[in-house]
Point group: C2
């Protein structure tokens, strides 16, 4: 078995986590030879021999002893330059950058096929939960119907604090950042983009179809108000930021990221704080629930380690499902039932409901509950950026029978 | 990609499930060529062309077109004969027979290495939950500390009915059998052997160490009484049949199957009915929880299908951890705290406690709560078969911090 000599890019929370994890994994047959950082001057609370550090990528790319590159820089452009160059040079790469991967996946797949070098990125989705690997290898068949979950640790942490602990939204957000759950740019988390990128990657490995992130409805929690929280409490449900990809029938599927009213009858109702939870539903096996730490340096690092050791055995994603016959096609022509909270009595921006079921009007707040198509919702981007509007999905069309037996849901 | 022509042994609940699942999995590149059954005469509620059926194993073993054998007979001896012959003939096999695998694993590993033919058996543990594959591939490192879970669907179903629905034990057992959760011989489930065999297999893939099932403390739920249930209810806990393998330190681990008082603070507290739930704990990633259907024909069949499709890509277990340096050694020299319910005031069979914490004596029932070593417990087999005695583990030494954030546990 060949030893892995790793060239590491990035020494933030995750990078330092990888360094620590590799020190502890005695049988990993992998060690870090060189670490490329943006600034050598930066003070770090980890003791690393100075000669391991460099700020010149060539010190890694031109080191012929390095046979694996691990890339955990948070800048997506830098990540893309590193990964592309590595693959072009035929060096396998492990990356955790979901934004870069979600945006460039078709090119990355083509690059892997052309150069034969492999790219692994299980850490990019759900931190320590092995979602990608299981979708690729274990749920490697036609039976998959739905992947739905809480994929973003920091927005979930914020909602938990607000919901279960009555904390103020801004305070909870600040705490999430202090605890290192939140991305450098919090809007990445709370506006749903982090969940979106993970969902796009998951969809490729779940259904074998790539959907450009720009074509996916993505709406976060930044506009949530005390009124919305009170409304949900009164209904006995929680608001969670949910990402889902759902097969509507043999030929069509849809996917979106959107806050959702989650009833106690659902597994994800119980997923709180910085944790992630994913429900995989299929024919025959019904539902499986995977739960674990989705954020933080060490959990993500342990997931990176799993990709690293997989490389010891030359593991690569085959993207098998992309060659399946009868792959379903992406559609936004699906009817949703939503809660729309707005300021003035008339529905903002002339949003067209197919059917309105409830209207609430008061001098300071109004809301409308009704059915409309996802496509119609996507015709009104101005709606999504209006701070006086909040939209929440009321699960209905995607609800099949109860999530099964976790006793808290009975 | 070569098509898989499957020779199937066994057409019970799982065998019929496999037949149905393969009909639905359009892209599986696998089809059943021949099915060997014990009795051709037997009436079956599934429509299968008569010429596919045979009662002569040679019709499969001598068919050169068959390149994968799937074996789901419930008799362990028959299973062993089939799997051994297949491997000796160099034909890959997928098996779901946990008893056979747990008993013969060392020979099966040697056979695979000698003949180069692969044996896959993910379906043998936890039905549809991909525990083995994840332990082998994803948790392929030193960081694993513990695998603990509810591995037997039917005993869990029975306990759920008794505990949460106040049903009579015998009635619940009968229902479990009617629903097809219980093995043909229910003692296999309720005496803990099904959990034991799964635990032995899990331990090989978790820590790289094989422990003969005969050396593992195994105690089931058949002696549980209303008194025990009332006792647990008063303490606000549930009794679950728990299998666990735990690393005590870098050099030692222990494993056993035993009823346990499970507090609401634990993930497995919420695992009810025929479901299975497994907690994988490690350094860095803390705990992960996998939950799904552990029993029933279709869930098990879908797991078999995952092994079948894995064979399309020549996947095999590498048993990597067996070659790790510094593998921990099995010990029973570990102190447990137990609840021992017995008939007469004196502790039965002179069982030696290191420390007794509580004694309860009444004219009809007594119990003792105290600490003793697992080794001492294993010195008294007569204790385990005494219908007037019930033993339940009080988790203590293996408890680390709270299982983390599933809201139902707060």
């Amino acid at each position: 078995m060949t030893e892995l000599n790793i060239g590491l890019f990035g020494l933030g929370t995750v990078g330092q986590g990888i360094y620590r994890v590799l020190e502890r994994a005695r049988n990993a047959h992998a060690s870090i030879s060189r670490i490329c950082v943006r600034s050598l001057a930066k003070k770090r609370d980890i003791d690393i021999p100075a000669n391991m550090l460099t700020d010149d990528p060539d010190d890694i790319f031109n080191d012929s002893a390095i046979n694996l590159i691990v890339e955990v820089v948070d800048n997506a452009e830098a990540s893309w330059r590193i990964v592309r160059r590595a693959l072009e040079q035929g060096i396998p790469v492990v990356s955790g950058n979901k934004a870069m991967i979600a945006r460039h996946l078709p090119e990355l797949i083509a690059l892997q096929r052309r150069t034969g070098a492999a790219l692994l990125y299980d850490a990019s989705s759900c931190g320590s939960i092995p979602v990608i690997r299981n979708l690729e290898e274990y749920y490697d068949n036609d039976l998959l119907l739905e992947v739905k979950g809480i994929l973003n640790g920091s927005s979930n942490y914020i909602l938990s604090r607000v919901f279960d602990h009555g904390e103020d939204y801004g305070y909870a957000l600040k705490r999430a950042q202090e605890l290192g759950f939140a991305e450098a740019d919090p809007s990445f988390d709370i506006k749903g983009f982090d969940s979106l990128f993970k969902l796009v990657i998951i969809t490729v490995h779940a259904l074998g179809v790539y959907v450009d992130p720009g074509r996916v409805f993505t709406y976060g929690i930044s506009a949530i108000s005390d009124f919305d929280i009170k409304y949900a409490r009164e209904k006995g449900v929680k608001i969670k930021l949910v990402a889902q990809v759902v097969k509507l029938d043999d030929d069509r599927f849809t996917l979106f990221v959107m806050p959702e009213f989650v009833s106690p009858g659902k597994y994800i109702y119980s997923v709180d704080d910085e944790y992630n939870g994913v429900v995989i539903r299929g024919e025959c096996y019904d539902r499986q629930f995977m739960f674990g730490k989705g954020a933080g340096g060490l959990p993500t690092a342990s997931s990176i380690l799993s990709d690293v050791t997989a490389r010891l055995h030359n593991y690569r994603y085959e993207y098998k499902k992309m060659s399946y016959e009868g792959r379903p096609a992406y559609t936004t022509d699906v009817s949703l039932r939503i809660y729309l909270r707005h300021k003035n009595p008339e529905v903002p921006y002339g949003l067209k409901f197919d059917k309105i079921l409830e209207r609430y009007i008061s001098d300071h707040t109004c809301y409308t509950v009704g059915d409309l198509s996802l496509a119609e919702l996507m015709l009104h981007p101005e709606l999504l950026s209006d701070p006086d509007v909040f939209i929440c999905n009321i699960p209905r069309f995607f609800e099949s029978d109860d999530d099964g037996s976790l006793s808290n849901i009975n």
